[in-house]
Symmetry: C2
């Protein structure tokens, strides 16, 4: 008897008929003898509608009250999903985040899970019940209702799989966390932009993490991190199809045979560049502590020295630019020196693969492909398994296609780019 | 500093603009220095929409899951109301039934309040905050989410007023529970049926209780009972108007000067009559214990003896008839004797007033009015302060009008019917 966690996203729960279809899937796993937990998001556009309602009341809703408001969406879903399971003849019970004992920190709208009490879960599973859990939500130790931020339901599903031992001996052989969504799995690139993109049968957690953080929307990076940390096998698949999707698994040596597994495009970026600030110890901390207070996610930090002073540039999402600009103006004001420039209209194209660790020449291939396509590269940044180039936003989609082609991702299951010496990228 | 509880029903919370209007009312009470608790229902038709969703999934929804589903409606309202109060510059905090410590029994969809922990309420009020409470909901001692059934938000409001000492020294002088609705108060009869019906400035709790149980929809009888038991002054008023509504107060001697304060019509009734069943001890208990399992509310039980056997008839709402019929068939089957008949198309017209205790002739006036109008009386039942007649449903509205006129309720503030000797009714 393996523990199987099914997570259904909002697009899979668009209406009551969709809910009944998903319930049949969970019922089938239950009849197969598994210990089944179902994690659900809010139905369809519910969350957007609730945010719109809040916007009609005030343009500065309290974070606590937003959480109070938004968690109702998942609560509606658990009740309906449980009713649908009952109709399938399955003994099932719904539970809110608070009821199941998902304890988070106290940061409303972006809380992090601190612990999950498995007492209630174990007791209900031992009774042979399917447990239907409200994703995205938890409770602070003070009893406040919190939400986990974007992708929160994915995180709930993987975290519950982890505490129930999926991927370890405790969860039983064959345990898995299935993330049901409206796409067939993880692709070598966004198939809406790259028509010959190919579905991956499996991908390493590190690779998935890089792709997820780049905005490949199928699975949130926090969920991938949980999965990686607790060794939870995650299966991303389509709720409308019986086909296998993409398994997100621990890396194996043969995965390094493939240099690049996927490419991703992140659009709507802005770059902030600060020039001529004193390169004193702690200067960088001053800057990024200040930006951290805005909640903006910063990426691709580059620093260059120019004598006594330094230039620092970094990327943020365009929607965060106004807040970051104000924060940076304060930093410069306090420093009494330096100036700032802001660029928008930028996108980031990235190639990801654990094979990069051992195969060289990847960077050169990517730069050549972009160069041949006449695409200007504004910035370059790399991690151990990723190369990213900042390009003009208008050329972003074309950049994704040419890089995807350059690594031969669309047509052959294995990348064809190998052989250049390490160090040259 | 008096404790003031404001309760806003669904019709007063139809959209975000309505919510903001109600919030201004609560904000004004807060600025006047009161300790303010706001109790809200679900917005407009939310509850109906949720029930419809459940109906799309299954025609036999679990009671527990229905409660899980329906409580989201009030949770949406508390979040939006609190945001609206924040916009008014008022420090406010929302709380679910569980958070506030409203402990109920475990009977889903019709739970009863066992206790309310005032620790959280007192703490937030001491901080000068307005507390916005989700009506209609509570939590069982096992942590299950429960609802209080029809009129549950009224009950929540009055119960909270009671535990905070409204009406006693603890609640401060001038404390009140204001029930905001879409009508101006309690009328001598339903003004949609009786055009010259008059709004009452005040009404005794016993009278209100009789009217509420007869379906005068402004306030649920359980709320009135709570108010009566804990001496909570209740003010029923219009959320769209600054006018005073109707105060529901403890009776005073001068209230007995008025014989009849109001009339009510309950439609869509059915009568079940059982004839020729053995009149053995416990027979009545056998019948009504069996009916109690259906959850149907039974009224106007009449028993007559016929030798060794007895005839029993009683009224139920038409929607409960099918279940009650099945239950009664079992009773007769077990008794092995007796037969049953069912009538529908009945209505009940009632006249209510504490003055009946001391003024006689009330019944005669009512029967004469109905007789003069050619209305057949099928059954008569009385309580200390109420007379009810079962009439054909098609004549119900006319019956209400003629009885209302007969007691002079429409035009003069005092009833004109007095003086006939006690005992003749």
């Amino acid at each position: 008897m393996a523990v199987v966690v099914h997570k259904f996203g909002g697009t899979s729960l668009a209406d009551s008929a969709c809910i009944c279809r998903c319930a049949r899937r969970a019922a089938s796993a239950h009849r197969d003898g598994h210990r089944v937990v179902v994690v659900v998001s809010a139905m369809g556009k519910t969350t957007d509608k609730l945010i719109e309602l809040a916007g009609q009341v005030t343009d500065q809703p309290s974070q606590r009250e937003l959480d109070m408001l938004l968690t109702t969406g998942e609560q509606v879903s658990i009740a309906l999903m449980t009713m649908a399971l009952h109709r399938e003849g399955v003994d099932a019970v719904s539970m809110t985040g608070a009821q199941i004992g998902i304890i988070t920190d106290e940061y409303h709208t972006k809380a992090r899970i601190r612990s999950i009490d498995t007492t209630a879960l174990d007791a209900e599973l031992d009774r042979g019940r399917v447990i239907v859990v409200a994703g995205f939500q938890g409770m602070s130790s003070e009893g406040q209702i919190t939400t986990l931020g974007r992708g929160g339901s994915d995180t709930t599903a993987v975290a519950i799989a982890a505490v129930l031992g999926v991927g370890s001996k405790r969860g039983g052989p064959g345990g898995v966390c299935e993330i049901y969504t409206d796409v067939d799995g993880v692709y070598t690139a966004d198939p809406r932009i790259v028509p010959n993109a190919r579905k991956l049968d499996r991908i390493g957690t590190e690779e998935m993490l890089e792709l997820a953080s780049l905005g490949a929307g199928v699975l949130h990076s926090r969920a991938v991190i949980f999965g990686q940390r607790y060794n939870v096998p995650i299966h991303v698949r389509n709720s409308d199809s019986a086909e296998e999707g993409t398994m997100i698994v621990r890396e194996t040596p043969e995965m390094e045979d493939v240099t690049v597994v996927g490419c991703a495009l992140a659009a709507e970026l802005g770059r902030i560049s600060v020039r001529g600030i004193p390169n004193t110890p702690g200067m960088q901390a001053d800057i990024f502590e200040r930006i951290a207070t805005t909640g903006a996610i910063v990426d691709d930090i580059i620093q260059t020295e120019a004598g006594e002073t330094a230039n620092v540039s970094f990327m943020v999402n365009r929607r965060d630019l106004p807040d970051v600009k104000v924060a940076m103006e304060r930093v410069l004001q306090e420093a009494g020196i330096g100036d700032m420039s802001i660029e928008t209209g930028l996108a980031k194209i990235s190639a990801v693969g654990v094979g990069m660790r051992t195969h060289a020449g990847v960077a050169a291939t990517m730069f050549r492909a972009l160069g041949d396509a006449g695409i200007h590269i504004a910035n370059i940044s790399t991690s151990e398994i990723k190369i990213s180039c900042i390009v003009p936003e208008g050329q972003g989609k074309n950049a994704l296609r040419v890089v995807h082609d350059a690594f031969g991702l669309g047509n052959t299951p294995e990348s064809s780019v190998i052989g250049v010496r390490a160090g040259s990228r």
